[in-house]
Amino acid sequence: MNPVNYLYLAALLFAIGATGVLIRRNMIVVFMCIELMLNACNLAFVAFSRLHGNLDGQIIAFFTMVVAAAEVVVGLAIIVSLFRSRHSASVDDASLMKL
């Protein structure tokens, strides 16, 4: 088997995550989907690092994780404060882009 399959898997997961972001209304779930996408990327990176035979890919993945952690912390904080203010975690409610 060729490690390329890992890439295919990553692509699949990424697409699924993206779809999730688009179809779910619950902010938390949307966030999870984003995490899923990030993880897919990480998988791709790891696979790449194996294909190229150096560790840079893993480093990037590592950084991705760190950034993901930061992003999750902030994001969840936002969700919580939003929930406090409007007692709902629905993306559509939060969106007031149109006057």
């Binding site: 993206a18 688009l22 209304r25 993306v91 559509d92 939060a94 969106s95 882009m97 149109k98």
Partner: protein, 651 residues
């Protein structure tokens, strides 16, 4: 000497400027100032005249070049004057009659608080008229031409609070503008044909020019003349112009301005000589107007309108004569001068009568006035005799010559024109006699009758001063003050002797010959025959009138009258025609155009705007404000981009 020419125009112009711009402080002396300047102009004219008599016939014409007016490439217009015998004649007529009428107005307008302005306008008119006859090129003539139009507009509408006056003034100006259009087109034609529009070159080159062009120019000039001289079909304004003060009617609408058309045609004689068709048109117009005016004159009960009709018909004579070519030019001018005297006199007389009758203008409410205003009666009577061509008086000579010339035209035309002229003479005799009888003879129909019906308060100052209900009480006919009678007397003298003076030894003919090149046509009838005929028709006309108005008492309320009479009362339906065709049509046209402008032209634009607005409104719906749908579009966009890049890579 040449330097003096400008003074002729400058004096009255100065007067106009001072009187119109000067404030109320001029109110007391204004009228005398105006009269003085008019007189000054007359004096200058006399000086120039004597000087001119000193020279011999050929080199009498003076030229003065003031300054270059409009220089553009080939188009070189100068402000330059030309004083030859023809102009001289006019200058003398204008300044003399003008001065007299200034004098008359001093008394006539005594009680009008806007007298200063009135004299300003009169001076303005004099200046413009003199400019008209002194100009040495058509463009400058055009300036004077419109100038007199403006002056007449201002003077007809002098009593602006009367809507009828304002309307009449507007009408006069508009109809004149139509004529002016003709003049300006004529000038353009001259420019394109000759490359200039100064009298000398144009008339000099008239010979070697295509007849078509000349005919066109001639017809355009004729149109102009029709407008200014109230000839058919542009005559309709003259009757209404009688709304103006009587001196104005005398000066502008009888003696001077309305004869400008004749001047124009005579001045452009060479052009007409080379364009027979145009000449024929001129004669036709003259003949038609001659009868038209006469018939109208017969039907009018308003004394001034009757005189206006007569003016029309007399000018018809002149135009007719001018259309006859070298045979007639001289006599046209001669009749013009004599007519200037006696018609002015008649108008002044009419003014004096109205002055004494609380501005009553309906002759049917006059009668037997000779006892009350003898001077007026005598002067008016002399003018009357002159106009009907009583042997020995001015009108006799001039009109007689014109009729002769008409016959002398020769051929069928000659016969037709001649007989028309004769018929005109008869009708003239008829309606003037009618006026005379109605006004000064018969029983006193004004007794026990209020005049100047309250519906239309008297416009003439006399009534205003009497004012109030008294103004409509029974009139007390009385003679007018000296300032009014003196001019009448002088004019009467002129109207008696001028004709004889001119025609003794053909003075006038020789005087004008250098300009108008007189030649005797070959008349099928001898001069004696024509004279006899005129006298006969004169007698016929007078007796007819006497049978109708002299013997039987005249009904105060006009009888219904025949169809012709009723038509004639309405200026032979010319106004109605104009109203239906031009006014109504114009109103409809403008109204529909306004509508079109709003809906169509503007609508297209607004429509575009509206459609764009609607479209964007629809597009707005796409922006539903839900983050997720935006996300979808973004995601889709990314996908498309990636696909695109991949395809690029692939191919």
């Amino acid at each position: 000497m040449e330097k003096l020419i400008a003074l002729l125009v400058a004096a009255p112009l100065l007067g106009a400027a001072v009187l119109l711009c000067g404030g109320r402080l001029l109110d007391r002396v204004g009228h005398w100032l105006g009269t003085l300047l008019a007189a000054a102009s007359f004096a200058v004219a006399v000086v120039l005249f004597t000087d001119m008599l000193g020279k011999d016939a050929e080199d009498r014409s003076l030229h003065q070049h003031l300054f270059r007016w409009i220089p553009v490439e080939g188009f070189q217009a100068d402000v330059a004057f030309q004083l030859d015998q023809l102009s001289m004649t006019f200058v003398l007529l204008i300044t003399s009659v003008g001065t007299l009428i200034h004098l008359y107005s001093v008394g006539y307008m005594e009680h009008d608080e806007r007298r200063r302005r009135f004299f300003g306008y009169l001076n303005l008119f004099l200046a413009a008229m003199l400019l008209l006859v002194l100009a040495d090129n058509y463009l400058l003539l055009y300036v004077g031409w419109e100038g007199v139009g403006l002056a007449s507009y201002l003077l007809i509408g002098f009593w602006q609070h009367k809507p009828s006056a304002a309307t009449a003034a507007k009408k006069a100006f508009l109809v004149n503008r139509v004529g002016d259009m003709g003049l300006s087109i004529a000038i353009m034609l001259m420019f394109t044909t000759f490359g200039t529009f100064a009298f000398g070159p144009v008339l000099g080159a008239a010979e070697e020019t295509g007849e078509g062009k000349l005919t066109a120019i001639g017809l355009m000039l004729l149109l102009a003349a029709c407008g200014k001289s109230a000839q058919v079909p542009l005559q309709s304004w003259l009757g209404d112009a009688m709304e103006g003060p009587t001196p104005v009617s005398a000066l502008i609408h009888a003696a001077t301005m309305v004869t400008a058309g004749v001047y124009l045609i005579v001045r452009s004689g060479e052009i007409f000589n080379a364009a027979p068709d145009a000449q024929l048109a001129v004669t036709v117009v003259g003949a038609v107007t001659l009868l038209f005016g006469a018939i109208v004159g017969c039907a009018k009960d308003d004394i001034k309108k009757a005189l206006a009709g007569s003016t029309m018909s007399q000018i018809g004579y002149m135009i007719l004569a001018a259309g006859l070519g070298p045979i007639g030019y001289v006599f046209a001018i001669m009749h013009l001068v004599t007519h200037g005297f006696f018609k002015a006199g008649l108008f002044l007389g009419a003014g004096s009568v109205m002055h004494g009758m609380n501005d009553e203008v309906d002759m049917r409410k006059y009668g037997g006035l000779r006892k009350y205003m003898p001077v007026t009666f005598v002067t008016f009577g002399l003018g009357y005799l002159a106009i009907i061509g009583f042997p020995g008086l001015s009108g006799f000579f001039s009109k007689d010559k014109i009729i002769e010339a008409a016959f002398a035209k020769g051929g069928a035309e000659g016969w037709i024109l001649g007989s028309v002229a004769l018929l005109g003479a008869a009708i003239t005799a008829y309606y003037m006699t009618r006026v005379m009888l109605l006004t000064f003879f018969g029983e006193e129909r004004w007794r026990h009758r209020a005049t100047a019906s309250p519906e239309e308060p008297g416009a003439e100052p006399a009534a205003e001063t009497r004012g109030g209900p008294g103004g409509h009480a029974e009139p007390h006919p009385h003679e007018s003050p000296a300032s009014m009678t003196i001019p009448m007397v002088l004019l009467a003298v002129g109207s008696v002797f001028a004709g004889g003076f001119f025609s003794i030894g053909d003075r006038f003919v020789h005087w004008l010959e250098p300009v108008t090149h007189h030649d005797h046509g070959d008349s099928p009838l001898s001069a004696a025959t024509v004279t006899g005929a005129t006298v006969v028709v004169l007698v016929v006309g007078v007796t007819l009138a006497w049978f109708q108005y002299g013997r039987r008492p005249v009904p105060v309320v006009a009888p219904r009258g025949s169809l012709l009479t009723r038509a004639a009362r309405r200026d032979l339906l010319q106004d109605d025609f104009n109203h239906v065709v031009l006014v109504r049509g114009g109103e409809h046209l403008t109204r529909s155009l306004v509508y079109v402008d709003h809906t169509l032209v503007d609508g297209v634009v607004n429509g575009t705007a509206a459609s764009v607005g609607g479209l964007s409104g629809r597009l707005r719906k796409l922006q539903n404000g839900y983050a997720r749908s935006y996300a979808v579009s973004m995601f889709g966009g990314v996908a498309v981009l990636i696909a695109a890049t991949l395809l690029m890579r692939a191919v």
